[in-house]
Structures are given as structure tokens and as C-alpha cells.
Amino acid sequence: MLATARTYTLDGIIARPVRVEVDVHRGLPAFAIVGLPDTAVREARERVRAALVNCGFDFPLQRIVVNLAPASLRKAGPGMDLAIAAALLSASGQLPGTGLADVALAGELALDGATRPIHGALAIAEAAREGGVEAVVVPTENGAEAALAEGIEVLPLDGVSELPALAAGEWRPEPPQPLALRSEPPPGTPDLADLRGQPHLRHSLEVAAAGGHSLLMIGPPGAGKSLAASRLPSILPPLASAEALEVARIASACGRLTDGTASGRPFRAPHHTISAAGLVGGGSPPRPGEITLAHRGVLFLDELCEFPRDALEALRAPLEAGQVSLARASGGRTLPCRFMLVAASNPCPCGRGESDPDCACPHIAVQRYRGRLSGALADRIDILAAVRQPSAEDIGGPPGEPSAAVRERVAAARERQARRLGAGRTNAEMTPGEARECLLSAEAGALLAEFYARQRLSGRAHDRALRLARTIADLAEKETIGAEEMAQALQLRRRDRD
């Protein structure tokens, strides 16, 4: 007898529909799964058999063939256990009526028949809605997450033993409450108040957050670079609801939404031994990389000069485009990655900096070290903050301004940008044409022109100064960039050369 069930397999961060066809007929007892299953899918045989037997169902001692259609698509992960079990029960006449042919099922099974959470429940629920399915059955733990997808009924299931009642229409589980997505940073997030003293570093962080500018911090080890970077998400403006859903979708696909850790803006700080594939995404089928996990949040590259060159080079196009396209033989996937880049570096290999008399680094070694900073990636960095060891007085001093106060100013500045440039856009994304249209006071224009002539700024550096000045003016709630804002921008800008 033949029966089918609908399920989904995760591909990157989207779910692709899969139809499970189970055929049970006479022959030597066997259980085969065909249709490009990966090892996790193939092992479903053992899990499904044990789950059904332990829940008191009959496991047909016949020839069972499970086909996962379309046969050309690679199926990955244990999320198809539940659908296989349902189709098998239906094919062996243990589910009443048409079984569960009209709903989609996704879930991993334990040997006792209980469901286990899966990755990508939100993407699956959304794909089910797009596919015109009435309801989607997911493990209980994924219920709240899947309920974020509006317009589809979510049926959280505790175990495979509930399937007959569900199929007969005698019982429906309680609809779950959608997960509360925090747009604000959750309590306990590191706060900017921990950064004591260091007024310039604070100012750099605030300007970077307000304009979406990428930031490079240079300073000796222990000067507070990592501390400052980890406080950045807490001063970024709250996520809009659409943005929060994007972040949730990515977190869900990586299985990090259910435990409640992924709320608010993400902060990713990969170690510098990361590969290019780990950073931008890779593998087959492609899995999201750190830049996608940092979508709408902060990607912090500590020890920028230690990162493999190819990993940094791979960042360039995604930084510009806000998305990364991964081409594979089986087709291309585009993953979103609109993040703020924050990097930190020591001034020289020994970390003391050349102006320190104890620094014994030869100049050539320092140049080679910094050479990695001046590559094409550095071109995308707007702000340079020289960080120094805070004094004892600073460390023992009163706590700094809390994140909430800074966040208010940043949010107001972002609103001004959205009014001028269109929703969701920031000053950092201004085209050169837009940058040159910014209103400048006469003194500010003269200041920039003089700097341009005397320091021989490149055209790019000129526009960078304009963008930064615009952000500083937005923070100061000014329509026109004044001389003061321009002077600050000229100080904050990243320097092209010695």
C-alpha cells in the first residue's frame, strides 16, 4: 500500500519541499530510503523503527521503500523522521482516514517516539505557508518559533503516539504563542557603562553605530578593544519587526532560536583561524557563515592582521552588496549579510606600538603586518580609533554613560538618515553623488578643501570624510554640516597612508 507525507529539507536558510512516499508490500522484510538522503536521513530507518515499536504501533515486517521526492534534491538532517513515520503508519493502515496528507510534518524522533527539536522550523513554517499547506506539525520545542510565521496553523507535537488522534481529527494541540522577538537588547547584555574614560573611543563607537560606519580599533592588548566592540550591539537602534524576523529566520536555521539566546542584534566574533568558507558560508549544501549570522548586527574581527588573507578578501563583495551569493554545482544560494564590520588590531606584531621604546619589532616586520591592513578590505573601513591603555584613574573612575542613553541619540540620528535617504539606509551606504550633495556650511567646505589640498586626500577619502561629517551632524541634529562636525570627521577618518 502506498502513502505520502509532506516535509521540508533545509537548504542554507530556506526550506525546500520534499514529498515522502512510502510503499509497503510483500517481500523479504527490508527498509530502504531512496532519493539522495544523507547519512542522517538514512539513519532515520533505525529511529523510526524503534519509535514506532516503542509507542505500541506495528512495524510491518514487509518490504518498505521510502522515496524522497524530488529525487534530484539532496536531503539533509534528521528533520524528516516524523514525516517518514507518519507516511509509514498511513501506508500500513494504522492512521485513520487520509492520514496526514494535507499537513506538513517536520521533526526528529527519539527512540521512545518523542519529538526532538530541529533546525529551521521558522523557515519550514514559512515555506509551508507559501506552498498552500493548511497546517504544519513541528516538535513542541519548535512551536513558538514556527508560530512566528503568520498565516499558517502550527501544531506542536510531543510524540509519534499523538499522530492517530491528530489524523482522526479528534484532537488538536493548543496553538503555541509566537516567540516574543526582542527588538531591544535583552537584560544582561554587556552595557557601554563598563567602558570607563576613553572619551574618544566612546565617540567613535557612537558615530559608527549612528551611521552604520565600519570601525577599526588599533591599540595595545588589553586596552579595551574587545570590550568596546561587544558593547556595540547595545547602542544600535532597536530592530524593526521585519528586521527582527530576518534575524530570527537565520537564527532558526542554525538552531539557535529555541534556547532564546538569539534575540536582539547579533554579535559575532569569530576566531582569527576561521576559513573563508566559515566566514562567508560554504560547504555543500551551503551553510550560512559568520557574516550571515551577523546579519543586522555586528561582525567583530579581533586581531584583523592575523586573519587569513583569502578570508578577508572574501568579505569584500558581501560587505558592499549586503548579501552573499554562493554558487554550487547544485545551484546558487543567496544569503543575506547586512552587518557592521568592527575590527581590532595591535599596532605592531609585539603589540606595544612603534612609539613605545620597548617595541623591538623591525620596521619591515611592522610594514608587513600593517600591509594586511591596507588591502582592499581596509578601503571599506571608515573610522580609525587609536585605543590606548586606560589609566588607573579611568579604571577606578565612575561608570560611563549607559547604553540606553547613547542608543536614543543613535536611533534619532538613524531616523534623520532614513528621512533623507529612504527607509533602512544609512550614511555609510551613501553613493559618492549623494555624499557630495550634503549641505555644507561655508567654513566646513573650506576646511575640507584645505585638508584635501594640503594632505592630498584621495577622492575616496574625501567622500569618506563627508559621510562621517554627515553622521556627526545627524547626531548633533543639524541640517547643515558645520566646521566643528567636519573637523571631527577629519580626525575620525581612517588614514590611507603614513
Partner: protein, 381 residues
Amino acid sequence: MTDRAPRACPDCLRRSWLLALLGPYVEKLATSAPGSRSPELLRLANEDLVAVAAPKVAGQLLARIEALGEEELEQQLAAAGCWACCRHTDLYPVGLRDAADAPWALIARGDPGLLEGLEPFGAVTIVGARRATSYGREIGRDLGRELAAAGLVVVSGLAFGIDACAHRGAVDTGRTIAVLGCGPDVAYPTAHRSLWRRICETDLVISEQPPGAAPWRWTFPARNRIMAALAGMTVVVEAAARSGSLITADLAADLGRDLGAVPGPVNSRASAGPNNLLAGGACVVRDAQDVLDALLGPGARRLDRHGPALDPTLAETLAAVESGAATCDAVATALHLPGPAAAAALARLELLGYLTCSTMGVYTRTMQTPPSGGPPATSAP
């Protein structure tokens, strides 16, 4: 070729082409002691030089050189964007005429006006170690900047370290000549291509070698003799006890030119060379004024180091940098200023020429002083 472009006689030009052909042969000859042998060799006439350096192919090489016609030579020069002058033309610098082993012709790229009326006391040669310390590079740049601003032509060799710093300082404020050990159209070292291009555009690059000639080890001491002869004074900024820069110093002393050295810490290996020169009686060079006094006579030309007037905030900020606050954060903390105010003040001081900022965001004080009653003109610690 227009009449206005400087010209050289074909015989002198052929000498340059011959040197390029001899490159590998002289390299073999001079491997044991490239420093001492090459200037001696270069005193020889064409036939003798070829006989010494490449006896087996002497006839062939000479024939190849003789076959080069005047038109072909000029075509090659023009194709590389170069021009030339030789010892028989007025443009040939007076200083080079003093040297017995002076180059027959100079192949150049850039502004011929720099050679016009160039007397030894109108130029200063700044040399130093390639592996220089941050102290040496800072002093090299300051000397280059200030001496060029005072109207001297700054001569150096476009090498790593001190040479490049001196050029960089000088192109900002005045004129500079880069003397190369390869053809003037070859940017060597490659890392200095942008600096080379800038000097080609606004100033002058010269060489004894024809366009396209590759550098050899022996061509560097050979170009050192041109650097030493061009200028009235050679200043060694930093050099190890045995260094190519000291060859230039020796050559300059042999020609009767002034020799200056920048003192450094007595325990610093990078300053051993200049410290030894000082012990041997070289002029102490603490700043550009010392060079001007030695070259032109005491007090003949005074440096004007006065910058524009400063308002109280800027003066305070400047004082903070002088007392050791090197970054914006340090200044803000020292003066209890909010971050933005400190940033704006530093940017203004940089624009006014009181400060420079490195790519690492570290500020250093320049030699410029406020108009009156300002702090003394010393560089930041």
C-alpha cells in the same frame, strides 16, 4: 624631438648604454667588494672598462654600442618619457664636474628646471639606513620637509627607510631629486612606485643608467657617488657601523663636501654610523637649521618655523601632545575634554601644520612653533 628638450651628445649617451650592457659582468667582478671597486672601474674609458669587465666579449659589446645611432638613442629616451644631459652641456650639474669618475651623461625623468643652475650649496643629500627606526624616519622626514621648505634641493636615493622619508618630506614642501641605481623609468624598489611617480611628475629622477636598465648590486655604490657629488653637504641620519650610507659619506668627504650626521642613542646599533662620523669630526645635525648654517654660513638663512596663531583650546591641546599624549583619547583624558572636542582640535592642529598623524592614529609634533611665547621647537618625546 623638440629643441627645448635637453640633449646630450651621442658618445656620452653610448657610455650609459654600455654600462647597462656591462651590468652582469661588473656584478661578477665586484661581488667581493662592490662598494670599493665600482667607482674605480667607472673612471676607466670605454675600451679599458670593457677589457677589464668583459674581456671575452669586449669586441662584441663595443660594436653593439657603436651601432647605436643618435636617432635611435633619442627614440629610446623619448619612448621611455626620459631626457638626458651630458658633461658637455650647460645643464650638467656643476657639482658633478668635481668628480673624476663623474657620469658622462645623466638620464632623467621629470623637470629639467631642477638641474638649471644647481650649485652644490643649493642642494643637500640625505642618506641613511633602509632598516631605520621610527626615530630615524621621523628625523629624515622633518629634515626633508624643512630643508626643502628653506629652498634647498633634497637629494636622496628612493630606497627604503630614510631615503623615502626624506623624499616624502621634501615633495610636500619643495624640490627633491631621486638618484637611482637603475634606469630612471624603473620604479625600484617597487614598493615606492607611487612616490617615484610623484617625483617624476613634480620633481626629478636621474640616473647614470639608460631607460629600462635593471639595478645591480654595484650600481648602488655607483649612484652614491652621484648623490655625494651633487650636493654641498651629505647628512647621514641613521646607519649601522658598516652601511652603504657610509660609502656615500666617504665619497662626499673625498670630494671635499661637508659631512653631517644626526646624533642618536649611543647604544643604538642604528645610530652607530652617524655617531662614529660625529666622533670623526662630522657636523652635528640636530635640525634643518644646523644644515643651513653649515652649508650657507652661520645665520645666512634662518628657518621660519612660526605657524599661524592658536586659540586657547588649540594651544592647550598642543601642549598636551607635547607632554606625551599621542592619541585622541589621551588628549581628551588629559584635558578633560569630551571626545568630539578633542577630535576637532587635533584635526585643526594637523591642518595648521603643528601635528602629523600616522595611519595608526598616533600624533607627533612637527617643528613648527606658535607665533610668540610658544613652547620651544623640539619634537615630541
